[in-house]
Subunit: 251 residues, 2 copies
């Protein structure tokens, strides 16, 4: 049984609400400004908006589930019969994480065959990574959590390898004006993704109870905002910069 | 425990509803008319619409939270277990206030590097200003409120300085036809923003209880409408005027 304080409950709810606003704003920003980039980059911007849109939907569900899971009685928080549904996060990630990687590949403008092969490989790795994490997430047993965490880290590290070694030549072939941004986008992916396995192991490190629960929820939420909304804006910035370099008539 | 009258409760609710309508209308006005301004000004108009869109979302939440926080029993108002969530305002401001300043910078059409550097500096100042205000807002102790109010006023005054001294040269370089509007936009920012620190100190001046609560809610709401919807329309007017001067073929 959880013993969250009213304040902790409210902090988490406010972070969820913040994320709804941020994902909604990012989605509209990306879709409205899609026409500002050159045609070859519009798909990357469209997909970036899809990612934040899917996240928007899931945060509306997450917000509602969190609200339904608790009620305030005489100034203290009590859990209701409806448990908070953590699975919304995993469903979201199964959809958005492959798309995030595809955004990055699309904005690089590789050859068609490279785009397809790299998109498929990274998408499969991402889905496997997320599915392997889930059995651990829903377990309270530290040993079980470590097992699935370790298995999930294999595709995670493989993706890191693909982004840094597999894409190195493609990054070096980017126009000079955009190379720093493209390279930075890879670091943003890895930096924001590192949150997830770290947040995941909080309970296994003895960091447990309501404060840990608050940190887990806020941690995943911040990671999602950075990995999806901030990353999407960065993809747009890259697309705009490359459009200006390659087709100087574009605004 | 609050002792708002039913009438005061209703006045506040009506102001929230008015704001939902105003923000929604401003959002659609700005996005629909975005194509009427020349390409270099479209981003300013898009961002103006994002600000009112984010505020629209938060006023829907604020309205719902206000409704849930009270109920009428035998003709008198009683607080429920669900406290009104004031944090929605601060979450809104963290997102919208940096964007408001970016609107103003974008419509000035400075060089790329100036646009980026001024946007970053003003955004950081705005976020710091808002975060410093929050611990005071949630305190009932006058001394604590004064402390955080004073700290928050440092970035506030810094922003005023940036707008009036830092941007003076840029304002003087605006086309003559738009110079008055651009300069006026700065005064509208400062004028509407002055509401917030003044509303904040109501409870510290012994102006307390249900009438003060009503004034605080209505005061913040009017300030938000002016600072976001009215300001956004003004940014659009500037963008249109500058488009006509610089590209006379634009409508």
């Amino acid at each position: 049984m959880t013993e969250l304080s009213v304040g902790q409950y409210q902090v988490v709810l406010n972070f969820f609400s913040f994320t709804i606003a941020a994902m909604g704003a990012a989605t509209i920003f990306l879709w409205l400004n899609r026409s500002l980039v050159a045609a070859p980059y519009r798909m990357a911007v469209t997909v970036s908006g899809l990612v934040t849109f899917i996240a928007l939907y899931h945060y509306v569900r997450i917000y509602g589930s969190w609200q339904d899971a608790y009620m305030v009685v005489d100034g203290t928080l009590q859990a209701t019969d409806k448990a908070f549904n953590d699975a919304y996060r995993y469903v979201d990630w199964v959809l958005t994480v492959p798309l995030l990687l595809i955004e990055l590949i699309l904005v690089m403008r590789l050859t068609s065959s490279e785009t397809v092969s790299k998109s498929i490989r990274l998408s499969i790795l991402a889905v496997v990574m997320i599915l392997l994490g889930y059995p651990g997430e829903v377990s309270d047993v530290a040993g079980t959590r470590w097992l699935w965490w370790s298995l999930s880290m294999i595709p995670f590290l493989w993706i890191v390898y693909e982004l840094f070694i597999g894409l190195k030549k493609a990054v070096d072939a980017q126009p000079l004006a955009a190379r720093g941004l493209v390279s930075g986008a890879r670091y943003l992916v890895i930096g924001s993704w590192l949150f997830y396995p770290i947040v995941f192991i909080f309970p296994m490190l003895g960091f447990d109870g309501p404060t840990a629960e608050t940190f887990v929820q806020v941690g995943y939420t911040i990671a999602d905002v950075v990995a999806k909304a901030v990353f999407g804006i960065l993809i747009f910035a890259i697309a705009l910069k490359k459009s200006q370099v390659e087709e100087p008539t574009v605004a």
